[in-house]
């Protein structure tokens, strides 16, 4: 590839459109105005196209391709919101049946196309990855030559450069053009332009750093995307769930048995239905109670001797106490515990006593009282008077299964049923079969014939359960850095504008030209101030073929005719 030497002496890379130094158009594009994008520099993508690397580079360096990727992600993202994603369907529902049940044929199609998990699908990931590649290549392809061009730009520019700027004009030969330029310099200095001088010509420049904004924000985005990718490494990301009953102490999942949490108290607070502020709202919604707060007062514990299984000898050290609430997680050692859900009044204990069915006997059984922990029931209860009750079978969440047999759905005591076996002092538990009865809430059935003894429930204890999410996300710092850099770049590129004004003395004529990447209105205002204070004329907007005065007259004419009707 040959380099191109400009008349001014600067050697430009192959493919340069405007000389990096003096701005002379090197390629003739038959346009009246110069294309100032990226200062007319030569970009790698426009130069090489031989190898596969070049081809890939060229493909991804195109902003057109980048925009297509953005549009594809945009359209794809829409698809995923038609019906809820899998994680938002009601707990316990199976995706394979839920979508069809709820949304019919379209729901089935949605499920079959995998749109219910589309944001983690390979093709969506591929789109995001291509966006990342496009960001890197597009930026590199432009920022390097752009930086060079802005660094090597000369004050004195080629005639062809100036006259092909959007804002341009030149004066007739005038007296003392130097004085006008000097005055303009003062004006521009007051407007915080940086002034560069060469042979009595001026380049006034302001806000060049805004040009780097897009590249800075792209760097931020790339860091953010990398951070989001790291999530797939298990070390970086933990997402666990624990249910803790009041008074219970459990191991915090995901901490390798190092940390424990005790739920000291769980409270739910409702909004006062008498509250005058919300009266109308309560009336409109039918007075359903609205939850104000739910909170777990918890104690965080750390295991001291870190070896061996957890047993009676395990010692704990209390680290801290904290009231965990929504919007106020407990954070320790990189982990966070979030209040996410709760269950009130879950059954926790039943207390029973034993009675004879025919109360003819004088035997006093009132001493026999026992309590069954519904989470971890003891199986045998022995009493001093020789009676013995055993749990024959326990169903925490009772139902009749497909084989028409009693079974339990899970270990949560939502509908507990216990089959007890009662042994009198005369019986031998190893050989004899005791009386069997099935006992639950509002249920008490004899299972093997008529029973002499009856197990009666005398007390029920309930408990609140809190649901907490355990989270550790080591990618957060990377995401924060990426986000901050992105925002800085965005602001830098959006709220500052790169403006340049060229004033040149060409044999007594003053040539005026201006360029900005965004805010032409502001640049014109700066020119107005120059015009007001010097003999330098306002440059003409060469794209503006529109003439205000004529048009106002036109409105007048039309309006007059309409009012006369």
């Amino acid at each position: 590839m040959e380099k191109v030497k400009c008349d001014c002496g600067h050697v430009n890379p192959y493919g340069t459109y405007l000389c990096e130094s003096c701005g002379k158009p090197l390629l003739d594009d038959n346009q009246s105005l110069a294309d100032m994008r990226y200062e007319g520099v030569a970009r790698r993508s426009q130069t090489y196209s031989k190898s596969v690397v070049d081809k890939v580079w060229n493909f991804f360096s195109s902003v057109k391709v980048g925009i297509w990727i953005i549009v594809l992600i945009l359209l794809a993202s829409m698809l995923g919101t038609i019906f809820p994603q899998e994680m938002y369907i009601p707990a316990g529902e199976r995706a394979s049946t839920y979508y069809e049940q709820e949304y019919g044929v379209l729901g089935k199609l949605y499920y079959q196309l995998g749109l219910h998990t589309m944001y983690s699908s390979w093709w969506y990931m591929l789109l995001i990855a291509s966006l990342g590649i496009s960001l890197v290549i597009c930026s590199l392809d432009r920022v390097v030559p752009l930086h060079r061009a802005l660094k090597t730009q000369r004050v004195t520019r080629h005639k062809g450069f100036l006259s092909r700027q959007k804002l341009f004009s030149k004066t007739e030969k005038m007296e003392e053009p130097e004085k006008s330029i000097e005055k303009a310099e003062k004006v521009l200095k007051e407007k915080h332009y940086r002034i560069f001088k060469e042979d009595g010509n001026i380049l006034a420049e302001k806000g060049r750093f805004a040009r780097w904004g897009p590249y800075v924000n792209h760097v931020g985005l790339i860091i953010f995307l990398i951070g989001a990718m790291l999530r797939f490494f298990p070390e970086m990301y933990i997402d666990e769930h624990i249910w803790v009953r009041e008074g219970e102490q459990v191991v915090i999942r995901g901490t390798d048995g190092e940390y424990f949490l005790r739920n000291d108290e769980f409270i739910v607070e409702l909004y006062d239905e008498e509250d005058e502020r919300f009266r109308e709202s309560f009336e409109r919604t039918g007075g359903n109670p609205v939850v104000k707060t739910f909170q777990t007062s918890a104690t965080l514990l750390k295991r001291i001797n870190n070896e061996g299984p957890i047993g009676l000898g395990t010692e704990f050290e209390e680290i801290m106490q904290y009231d965990i609430r929504v919007n106020d997680p407990l954070t320790f050692d990189g982990y966070s515990l979030y209040q996410v859900d709760y269950k009130l009044n879950e059954l926790s204990e039943f207390t029973f006593t034993l009675q004879r069915n025919e109360d003819s006997s004088e035997e006093d059984l009132s001493d026999i009282q026992f309590t069954v922990d519904l989470f971890n029931p003891e199986l045998v209860y022995e009493f001093e008077n020789g009676y013995r009750v055993e749990i024959f079978q326990y169903f925490p969440n009772f139902y009749i299964n497909d084989q028409k047999e009693p079974d339990t759905l899970n270990r949560i005591p939502d509908n507990p049923r216990i089959i007890f076996e009662v042994f009198t002092p005369e019986m031998n538990p190893d050989t004899d079969r005791g009386e069997l009865s099935l006992v639950g809430v509002q249920v008490n059935e004899a299972l093997n014939g008529d029973n002499n003894y009856r197990i009666r429930m005398i007390d029920v204890d309930m408990n609140h359960v809190t649901a907490l999410t355990v989270r550790r996300d080591r990618t957060l710092p990377i995401l924060i850095v990426g986000g901050v850099i992105f925002m800085i770049g965005l602001v830098q590129g959006s709220y500052w504008y790169h403006r340049r004004i060229w004033l040149q003395n060409r044999d007594g004529e003053i040539w005026v030209a201006g360029h900005t990447n965004k805010n032409w209105h502001g640049l014109k205002k700066d020119f107005e101030t120059i015009t007001k204070n010097t003999a330098i004329p306002m440059p003409l907007d060469q794209t503006d073929d529109w003439n205000l005065i004529e048009e106002v007259e036109g409105v007048k004419g039309k309006d007059d005719s309409s009012t006369s009707k």
Binding site: I70, T81, Q85, D239, F278, K292, S494, Y495, W520, H521
Partner: protein
Amino acid sequence: MTAVQVSSNFLLLAFFLYLAATIFFAVSITGKRFKNKKGEEKNKSGLLGYISAILAIVASLLYFIFRWIASGHAPVSNMFEYTTFLGICMAIAFAIIYPMYRNNFLGLFTMPIVMLIIAYASMFPRDIQPLIPALQSYWLKIHVITVALGQGILAIGFAAGLLYLIRVIDFSKASKKVRWLEFILFSILSTIAYILLGIGFGAANYEAEFNYINEKGIEAQMVYTMPPLISPHEGERIGEGFDPFLATPAIIRSNDLNTVIWSILGGLILYFGLRLLFRKPIGGAIQPLLKAVNPQTVDELSYRAIAIGFPVFTLGGLIFAMIWAQIAWTRFWGWDPKEVWALITFLFYAAYLHLRLSRGWHGEKSAWLCVIGFALIMFNLIFVNLVIAGLHSYA
């Protein structure tokens, strides 16, 4: 008077001040020629319009402050409060951008849109609702206020884009562009129809009740606030009244659809009424008023509005949103429909900026994009909140 009443009164006052601003801006445009004949005397209506707009914003902010005092939390927590605040933010954005360009046409286009948004907001229940635990955070103010401000500034881009399109499109012959632009104006008229019908039937306390079978096959009741044109699934009217011929399937909320049909009918009546009056497309009837608009200036203005609004929206709608989501919902991003639509809005404006800066999409193309962008914002506000269920469905 309680604080709530005070705040409502300020909102009403603000509404009329926005109206005054609209009128002043209209006068500043149509009244120009009178002044011109007298010589170089400047038309002061534009300035009066701007002052009215500022006063309107002050009144709006007083509404905001008093409602905050009354409810004890930032009044941006349900559809009425958020939509109203979006309207206010659009007015604030106008107040920021107007001094840069001194464009009275922008005022003429922005102020009515602000009024329309605020009027639309007032169709939602206006009672003060208690905050659920997930919303009890100082991030509520930070996140929502920033988003509204960003969207308000982006909405100025829409107003300028619309102004540009009506100014430059050739209405003398039928074309796709004319049809689409007329469709936009028709949508605006339908919104007006919805508001007028809502106010009308609301004032008459209209209600029609139905027994029907809902999507789960259970008997339920449904209340219509506008006369039923369509009935719910296996609906039976309770009490006196005309029975509609058409019934809807169970999964459609027929009372909402009924309201939509009424609004479209009302919009059609308004639209064709105006067309009959002007004997040309509505855009074509507005166009002569805009002859004095410099398309290039308006084009740059719409772009500047987007360039200013985009970072604010990104900060509020994505960055602050992610920070709060991490605190309240345990994860910074969860593909909730509202989050996805905020991302879509972000990507859309990102595409707009790249198309404009790198592909040279100026003028008409750029103006169309500004209009579509605003449609996306409205879609995310209304459709995603009310139709697509998600974590953000608070209203």
